[in-house]
């Protein structure tokens, strides 16, 4: 211990203290501060970059998911539209059919009534024609029947016989 103390040099201690403190001060100000600041800045920027990349990835994933959802939605919508169209078509066809049927029925009905009317008219016409003809025939017959007096006498007697005046 005494030997150690004997070896202790005050001068060296003094210079070491001064030089070391000077070095400490200079390095702190001109070396460590800029180095550590740069290192920390770089670490931060790397961290930020990584975070941004992670975010972008997340966004990408989100976007993909959105796209998928959108696509699915579109598909459903398309199916819906197609279905609706089909339904509309069917409806239109059935409607048309219905209308046509109705129209046809109506037309038939109208035709029928027209025919009926025509027929009625024809029948009426026929009837009047027949009446006219009958009258003409009867006229002719009567004319021929009563052309002679004998005949007239005969008819009168027949009629007289039938008509019993009581």
């Amino acid at each position: 211990m005494e030997k150690l103390l004997d070896k202790f040099e005050v001068g060296l201690f003094f210079w070491q203290l001064i030089l070391f403190l000077a070095l400490l001060f200079l390095l702190r100000k001109y070396a460590w501060k800029p180095i550590l600041t740069s290192v920390i800045n770089r670490e931060d920027s790397i961290k930020e970059g990584l975070e941004a990349a992670e975010n972008a990835k997340e966004q990408m994933r989100q976007l993909k998911e959105d796209n998928k959802a959108l696509l699915a939605e579109a598909r459903i919508e398309r199916d819906q539209i197609v279905k609706e169209a089909r339904e509309a078509k069917d409806k239109m066809i059935s409607d048309a059919k219905e209308t046509a049927k109705e129209e046809g029925a109506k037309m038939i009905e109208a035709a029928k009534s027209a025919i009926q009317a025509e027929r009625n008219a024809a029948v009426t016409e026929l009837k009047s024609q027949v009446a006219v003809l009958s009258i003409q025939i009867a006229e002719k017959i009567i004319k021929s029947e009563i052309s002679s007096d004998a005949k007239q006498q005969e008819i009168i007697s027949a009629a007289m016989q039938n008509a019993k005046l009581n």
Binding site: F8, G11, L12, Q16, L19, L21, L27, A31, P34, S38
Partner: protein, 357 residues
């Protein structure tokens, strides 16, 4: 080549070169030596010399690559002169009419003859020791490594432009900075408070690590195996802990909640002692680890010169290489442990204890 590769190559070179240099150093000395005992004492002296501070900066003594450093003494005013006056401690230095002598690596004020009289009781010289604030090799190393650290980290900090991507050096440094933050500061201090301690934790981590590594370079410096240096670091940790201590921290020291009153009285002095023991342990741990590492390494290198058997030399060379790699790990580990424990103490000081008891 990438930055990492360059760094690994550099690190490899850092621990590979010392051997060659020390080897050349030693072989120069060895030729002059005779007998094993002399070699042994020579090696011991060499190790001690390596562990001690020096008044001049010698990079390669044998090749004469060395610089004198200023000697600063407080002795009737400031006395400043070059260490070259000592001629590596061999001669007396005269400055402003005063004479100084280096004895056991300490500077004593002597007379013109340079006499050092030893007090038989304390076994220390009787001559006065002026306050010594010399820029020694260790001080110079701290300054140079501090400068290096400042330029390295400043260039890294500057390279973070708009795109916040660092340069190649930064790509090596940044993981370490993040390591200190994510594995030392945040787990021990918590998200809420860690930021204000980051400056100190990073500085202390890199300071210890760099200087530990510096101790393995051919520069032959050993800053972190000086008690004064580790004491300085520990005391700063202690001061920051004490200043940052919140009510709960002091409450846990002086009046431990959740235990009976007599226990509180017993615990208070123990806890109080603890706040001094913690930084003390920090100081000793770093000092002892680095000193031990250097002693072991130098001893192993020294053994290469004691053994004449080439097989043994090869084995020790391998062992030295292996231990160098371990030391490289220890250099990092000690920096980590010091920073880790510092963060732990800070965490204890700022923790809010509402969540338990």
């Amino acid at each position: 080549m990438t930055g990492k590769k360059i760094l690994f190559t550099l690190l490899f070179a850092l621990f590979a070169i010392p051997f060659s240099l020390i080897a050349s150093n030693e072989s120069n000395n060895e030729s002059a030596l005779e007998g094993k005992d002399k070699t042994k004492s020579e090696i011991k002296a060499y190790i001690n010399h390596h562990l001690e501070d020096s008044y001049d900066f010698s990079i390669w003594h044998a090749a004469g690559i060395e610089f004198p450093l200023p000697i600063i003494l407080i002795d009737e005013g400031l006395q400043v002169f070059s260490s070259s006056k000592f001629h590596h401690g061999k001669t007396l230095a005269e400055h402003n009419g005063n004479f100084y002598k280096v004895y056991h690596n300490k500077i004593y004020k002597t007379d013109v003859e340079g006499t050092i009289s030893i007090d038989p009781e304390t076994n220390h010289p009787e001559q006065t020791k002026p306050l010594n604030f010399s820029i020694t090799k260790n001080v110079m190393s701290i300054f140079l490594f501090g400068l290096l650290m400042f330029f390295i980290f400043r260039s890294v900090a500057k390279s973070y432009g708009e795109d916040q991507i660092p340069n190649k050096l930064g790509r090596f440094i940044e993981p370490l900075v993040i390591f200190v933050r994510d594995d030392i500061a945040i787990p021990n201090i918590g998200e809420k408070h860690y930021r204000r301690f980051m400056g100190y934790l990073l500085t202390v981590f890199f300071f210890i690590w760099f200087l530990n590594l510096g101790g393995m370079t051919p520069l032959g410096i050993g800053v972190t195996n000086n008690l004064a240096v580790t004491f300085c670091l520990a005391i700063i940790t202690f001061i920051i802990t004490t200043i940052s201590g919140n009510k709960s921290y002091w409450g846990h020291i002086f009046w431990m909640p959740g235990v009976p009153a007599p226990m509180k009285i017993i615990l208070a002095p123990i806890e109080l002692l603890g706040i001094f023991i913690k930084p003390f342990a920090l100081m000793i741990r770093l000092f002892a680890n680095m000193t031990a590492g250097h002693v072991v390494m130098m001893s192993l290198i020294g053994l290469l010169y004691i053994f004449t058997n080439w097989f043994a030399r090869g084995a020790f060379l391998g062992l030295t290489l292996f231990l160098s790699i371990i030391e490289l790990l220890v250099a990092f580990l000690q920096a980590y442990i010091f920073t880790m424990l510092t963060a732990l103490y800070f965490g204890g000081a700022v923790a809010e204890h509402d969540d338990h008891h």
